[in-house]
Subunit: 158 residues, 3 copies
């Protein structure tokens, strides 16, 4: 039976999401099963910049939707972001080493069969609709995440 | 034998504490045993706002006690707190969805028999006394936490 | 067979690194095997302040090297750092309780046989060279970390 890795993606930071997705991709290469559960700020990573919607949202939800990052490449750094300058510097350094960007690792994870769960409660509170997120995402409650996580060999909160 | 979930609650952020306590409550509903070990900033979550004491504290400990949040509802957001405005917005959005607040999930965890451990060293350094924290908390050393965690099915650092 | 603890040290914060190294030391005292994998900001903790080098680095890498903390005692707090004032306060409070500092716990972990892994990709991107880090560090890819972590009894992302 395959090993199982389970990641709770809570943070909406570029660097932390990069770490999480590198681990998800690498685990799939090692033939482990991988589940990622996106909650709170982590959901911003899965927003499709082309499909951000303002329909059927309360005033707060609209404001929140505008203030939060739209998709992987829009996420800030957890440290030294400096209004985007620090992040630009990091991206340039990644390019110097021909390292893929966050959106590449996200595409990789989708192609490699990582299981994507989205937190129902977070989506309701933050007013993020199903249509704004990547199509393969399955919207579940915390219970479904926990049942998967408790049976996994490894769990990380990122 | 029951599954076991172990959470090290290090952060003192409203949103992260919310995630941790939602998981703790949900795990109890799934009949898993749950231990939460509160260290550093995480201890602020368990302070009883009515019982914050200034007695027998050094000048630094008093200052630290005044500068840190007093109880669950006083915690800031990890992101977009904006001096409390962002947090107020999130709480209003939670109310719109009739979602319980952090203090409700804390009460739930206490009623459902989550085991509460407090980090002895953190309390000594930060000058937080036993009397300031919820009564069912057991003050233990890192060793006790680790012995529990190493035997658990799942461990998270939040 | 010994229990195994695996820590991914991602954060470059004094308080979080303190928590991680207290756990690593305590786990060794409980005769558990401990692996720590240092990635991204976490690598700053292992820099030797005497050996920070500017040779063979791009302009960005030099700038990054200067802006990031040099060694354990240079790390900021994750909260209430207040340009170093909050950290000084915490260190004074630790001294009042005769609590060891981060560098002491790092020395302890090195003496007690904690296994130190450094993330190859992070080092390449950030331009951190092997010579700037503690000598016992083994530079590995994410794959090596994951293989160790998936076989461990407990994994934390800090």
């Amino acid at each position: 039976m395959n090993k199982r890795l389970n990641i709770l993606m809570f943070s909406g930071d570029y660097d932390k999401a990069l770490a999480a997705l590198i681990l998800a991709n690498t685990a799939r290469e090692l033939e482990a099963d991988v589940t990622m559960f996106f909650a709170f700020w982590g959901l911003c990573l899965l927003r499709d910049p082309e499909k951000v919607s303002m329909e059927d949202k309360s005033a707060y939800e609209k404001m929140f939707g505008m203030m939060t990052p739209k998709g992987p490449e829009a996420l800030p750094l957890s440290k030294m972001n400096f209004a985007g300058l620090g992040k630009k510097m990091l991206l340039d350094m990644m390019d110097d080493d021909s390292a893929p960007h966050l959106s590449d690792f996200l595409s990789g994870a989708r192609k490699k069969g990582v299981k994507f769960y989205g937190c129902k409660l977070s989506m309701e509170i933050m007013g993020i609709t199903r249509e704004e997120l990547i199509p393969e995402l399955e919207v579940v409650e915390a219970k479904t995440y926990l049942q998967d996580a408790l049976e996994s060999d490894m769990q990380l909160f990122i």
